[in-house]
Symmetry: C2
Subunit: 138 residues, 2 copies
């Protein structure tokens, strides 16, 4: 059931109940959870799991490239298990809903050398902002 778990085990991860639960929560169909939301759902399955462990585990998954950190607002980081497929985000300015989107074109190619100031550019994050249909009609 859990691709994520398989991949993590394959990387020599020590498998603990806590890590399993965090991976399972992320692997559900609810993407873009905040760390605290992950913790809340993890607690439902494993009541004694601590916040620190959830933070640590999420951080490790990000390090391993299995999960993406998304920062669409300054409230909290969100975690996106969709790390294998490149995509960007569309955020409602009112309610905070996030959708994954795949724009055409490659924004990395749109940054000319003259605008790179000697940086080694490795990544680009695009966030579209707007109003979702629900908020627009309210």
């Amino acid at each position: 059931m859990s691709d994520l778990l398989e991949r993590l085990r394959g990387r020599g991860w020590r498998m603990t109940a806590q890590r399993r639960v965090v991976a399972e929560v992320l692997d559900g169909d609810h993407v873009h959870l905040t760390a605290d939301e992950v913790h809340a759902r993890a607690v439902a399955r494993l009541p004694e799991i601590s916040r620190a462990t959830v933070y640590n585990t999420l951080g490790e998954m990000v390090m391993l490239g299995e999960v993406l950190e998304v920062s669409t607002d300054r409230r909290a980081k969100r975690y996106d298990p969709n790390a294998h497929r490149p995509h960007h985000h569309l955020v409602c300015a009112r309610c905070g809903t996030i959708r994954d989107v795949r724009p055409t074109g490659d924004p990395l190619a749109d940054l000319p050398d003259a605008e790179r100031f000697g940086f080694t550019v490795s990544d680009v994050e695009v966030t579209y902002r707007g109003t979702c249909p629900d908020c627009a009609s309210a």
Copy 2:
């Protein structure tokens, strides 16, 4: 000297010593300050200015569209007085340095209707990440 102040006054802003100081700090040549940095510089000119006032004032400037809120890392929002010229940001993953850049192309146009999910898309924020020359050589 201060375009920003002129524009704000023109919008019927009540002019107070505190607001003047915040506008002047932003209007200097240091761009991309955090709220706390703005506060620190404001205190240097007006020792009794409070943090809440700096936050309120920055928030109002953002509302009025005179200043841009940039969130390149999770640590703190940064404020960019360059709101009149569209631009994006290039951030060093190591030291956090931020440069303004102007990519070619329009990312908004790159988002097809089919990927908009009924949203009214009004804005796009692009953040390039990489390593700056200083950090690369260190």
